[in-house]
């Protein structure tokens, strides 16, 4: 399984933008999604995200994420739609008994909510897939003044996801070789059968992290002020992009 936050190498313009610009882009999307209250407008924002993903060459990896988000958004719609009583009644979910009234306002509101959720959340995997983590850290530490330890914790946590998934696979195989089977429908049993997988994973993770801490310390981690090898600078494209965000935001505020 592809981990959805891994960096994907490409030469696209979006890849070359400064991480700050891309962070600003996520904020711009967030602001725009809340400026508009029209499902079509928010869908256009979502579509622009997909457009960015496709010019960055990550559309194949981003589509499964969007699909998963839409499943959530569908649940969101189901939670929302039946509780709005205002507006014209469009149809009933169970027509014969007139149960589950769906009104036009209700439909509108729940669509806005779900599109808004997908549009804003989907920027994060796009950001992750187009930005090398090391660049992100340089920016977080140098420009945004986040303490390096916290930035390091953040990227290490991300970096370990695929490692742990590989480890989990091996543990599962080792337990299956001892007759372990995970196919039970009983939810209480499901909780119990996770133990043979969770404990070895926990133990080996702690061991791994201990080793990593030692190997970092012997290489002088946290010994004093640090320098960054990578330099991340703003170039003309970044300024263009940021101006575009600002123009769009101001434009849409004026338009409303």
């Amino acid at each position: 399984m592809q981990v959805m936050v891994e960096y994907i190498q490409s030469d696209s313009l979006f890849h070359k933008l400064n991480p700050i610009t891309k962070l600003l882009w996520t904020f711009a999307v967030l602001i725009l999604s809340f400026i508009f209250n029209d499902p079509i407008a928010i869908f256009v924002i979502l579509f622009s995200n997909l457009l960015i993903a496709s010019v960055s060459g990550i559309i194949k990896q981003i589509l499964p994420v969007i699909k998963a988000l839409f499943i959530f958004s569908f649940i969101l719609i189901l939670c929302q739609i039946f509780f709005v009583n205002e507006g014209k009644t469009l149809f009933y979910a169970i027509p014969y008994f007139n149960l589950g009234k769906v009104t036009d306002i209700g439909l509108d509101m729940s669509l806005v909510m779900s599109f808004r959720m997908v549009a804003t959340v989907s920027t994060i995997p796009i950001l992750m897939m187009t930005t090398p983590m090391t660049d992100m850290v340089v920016v977080l530490v140098e420009k945004l003044k986040i303490p390096f330890k916290y930035a390091f914790m953040f990227i290490t946590a991300l970096r370990f996801i695929p490692t742990f998934m590989g480890e989990m696979e091996q543990i599962l195989q080792a337990q299956m070789s001892r007759g372990y089977h995970s196919d039970t429908k009983n939810p209480f049993k499901k909780l119990i059968i996770i133990i043979p997988l969770a404990i070895p994973l926990l133990v080996s993770s702690i061991k791994k992290i201990e080793k990593m801490a030692i190997s970092m310390e012997v290489r002088g981690f946290a010994s004093g002020p640090r320098s960054n090898y990578r330099k991340v600078s703003m170039n003309t494209y970044d300024y263009y992009a940021i101006s575009v965000f600002i123009i769009i935001i101001i434009g849409s505020l004026l338009f409303l």
Binding site: E167, Q170, A174, S177, R178, G179, H181, P200
Partner: protein
């Protein structure tokens, strides 16, 4: 016991790991599988208990079609000892750890205790029954893992580099246990890089190279095929090469364990001494 016919396997991304493998292993054999890292040894082994399902071909293990049978069912016939025992240890004492497999196989409670004790005695950890397995040494944890497999009454035991991460004597101890199990009739298949272990214990050697069987035959024959071994970046054990060189000069027989060699030399020297005395 184990029949592998035209087995091929490819990962989802299309890369072929195993190509047309044909191996036939009889009950009671002691087989070593050697080859470079990434040659497909472990992948091949994972087909035996159904962890991986063949893309092509057929594998029969103890009369069951391994690609159609669930791993949890195959587990009662074919036991796996993985490189890292920590991937399976999760109980707070050794007894529960060994009993885990039996509980999975739904063995009646009354039988579990005797089976667990029996397995523990076989691997020599009966005194640690109530110890926390995480406080044991790596070699001992490996033996706990071995006992947990044995308790299930396996007929075939697959060892994936059973001695890595242990000191020499711990490694030999586990191999002696394995040898004993083989004498009791358990079929052993061992994946390893350690040519000395191969020479000492295995009766038959299979070299896997790029997902195909490069060589398959009795240990002595394979150890003599230095070109095939070199293709897999392997060398026969030093003692074996030394014995061979002596043999070429007309000394000793073609023996290959340190003990054999030692006996031969003593025998020869005693002969010399007697000759000079007499």
């Amino acid at each position: 016991m184990i029949e592998i016919n035209n087995l091929s396997y490819q990962y989802n991304n299309g890369s072929k790991v195993l190509k047309n493998i044909n191996i036939n292993i009889k009950s009671g054999e002691f087989v070593a599988i050697i080859g470079q890292n990434g040659s497909g040894k472990t992948t091949l082994m994972k087909h035996l208990n159904g962890l991986l399902k063949a893309t092509d071909g057929k594998i029969t293990v103890c009369g069951m079609d391994a690609s159609k049978t669930k791993t949890s069912i195959l587990a009662s016939k074919i036991g796996f000892l993985f490189q890292n025992p920590d991937h399976q240890i999760f109980c707070s004492n050794v007894f529960d750890e060994i009993a885990f497999g039996l509980k999975n196989l739904e063995v009646p409670r009354s039988d579990i205790e005797s089976l667990v004790n029996e397995a523990a005695i076989k691997v020599g950890i009966e005194m640690y029954m109530h110890t926390d397995p995480f406080s044991l040494s790596k070699g001992q944890r490996q033996r706990v893992a071995l006992a947990s497999v044995l308790a299930m009454g396996t007929e075939v035991l697959v060892l994936d580099e059973p001695t890595t991460g242990q000191d020499y004597s711990e490694g030999l101890e586990i191999m002696e246990i394995v040898k004993e199990l083989n004498l009791q009739g358990i079929t052993i298949i061992m994946v390893t890089h350690d040519m000395e272990l191969v020479a000492l214990y295995a009766k038959r050697v299979i070299i896997i190279k790029d997902g195909t069987v490069l060589e398959d035959g009795p240990t002595e024959e394979i150890l003599a095929k230095e070109e095939s071994l070199a293709l897999s970046c392997l060398k026969p054990p030093q003692i074996y090469s030394l014995a061979k060189k002596f043999h070429k000069q007309g000394f000793f027989k073609d023996s290959y364990t340190v003990e054999d060699m030692f006996d031969e030399i003593i025998c020869y020297l005693e002969g010399e001494r007697d000759a000079s005395n007499g």
